[in-house]
Symmetry: C2
Subunit: 158 residues, 2 copies
DNA sequence: ATAGTTTATTTGACGCGGCAACTACTTCCG
DNA sequence: CGGAAGTAGTTGCCGCGTCAAATAAACTAT
């Protein structure tokens, strides 16, 4: 049970703690949003990203990248948001393969309504528990971990 | 869009980075394990936890807590693992409501086979990207975030 | 004992995300 | 031009996790 490059004690401890966060935080965050606003985190993020955009509009692929989701997931998310009236989809004028998702007024209103509760939850579960120095550490570490990893395919045994 | 206790610039940046990790890391980890060993992270964790136990046996509720999952999720995980022959379930002798999940030899073998690839992935996606000091920070921060939050229900607007 | 409450676990219904296949458009190149 | 290759996005199938309800056993107090 310790064959390749096993983890040392510090790493193992950190890994266990990180695994806990990875399991618990998304659930806790999702459940508040779901309960209070009937949105998943990913839905919320899509709304946020669109809201920050000039024209509140973006192409699907770019939106998927920004929201850190797969294209197929994004496609379903936007389909749901469209069904709820929060976004519209239209063909891009320059490239007829592409689709522009656009935040509607209703979507913007939804976001404004959902934000306070969500932010409160983020504050409660994350920032209230960290000193400013720890926030800086978190930023540094999270940035290191979210770089160009997502390829997610390691060439073991190929 | 800035009503309650909004996030300041540092917090916002850290939050965005953390959100990226929360979305990408589990996917990347799961996909390696799924592809190479046909196990989900949660399945793997359950096997690990049992393997570290005297008698390789534990009650469902305790297992759920240790693995940071809900009871119903754990129930399904163990059902799957049992179907695959990796664990067995038996009634606890002292409390007939309780169920003891026990790792089988096959389960242990499965874990031993899956571990190297998984650890390599963890190393690649996490520890290879962090200095020892950053590992210490990670440990500290992750520990702060995974304390007693899971209640997951905040009393906003009740 | 007995009814009521609490604890341990499972399950049915349902929605969501991943993978791979598919459509449709665009670009490249001879 | 015309076909091959690449790009954008969607969808069917399937497995997984959540929620709430169900089952069953164990206390608790009368």
């Amino acid at each position: 049970m310790d064959e390749p490059q096993w983890l040392n004690a510090d790493e193992l401890e950190a890994w266990k703690a990180l695994a806990g966060v990875l399991f618990l935080l998304p659930t806790a965050l999702d459940s508040q949003l779901q309960r209070d606003s009937d949105l998943a985190m990913a839905d919320y993020m899509v709304l946020v990203i669109l809201s920050e955009r000039d024209g509140r509009s973006m192409r699907m692929t770019e939106l998927a990248t920004s929201a850190n989701t797969s294209q197929s997931r994004l496609s379903r998310i936007v389909a749901r948001l469209e069904a709820a009236g929060y976004v519209t989809r239209q063909m891009a004028p320059d490239d007829r393969r592409a689709v522009l998702a656009t935040l509607t007024e209703a979507g913007m209103a939804k976001l404004v309504a959902a934000a306070p509760g969500h932010v409160a939850q983020v504050r409660k579960l994350v920032f209230d528990r960290l000193s400013p120095a720890q926030v800086a550490s978190l930023n540094e570490v999270a940035r290191a971990l979210s770089n160009p990893d997502d390829s997610a395919t390691c060439e073991i045994s190929t």
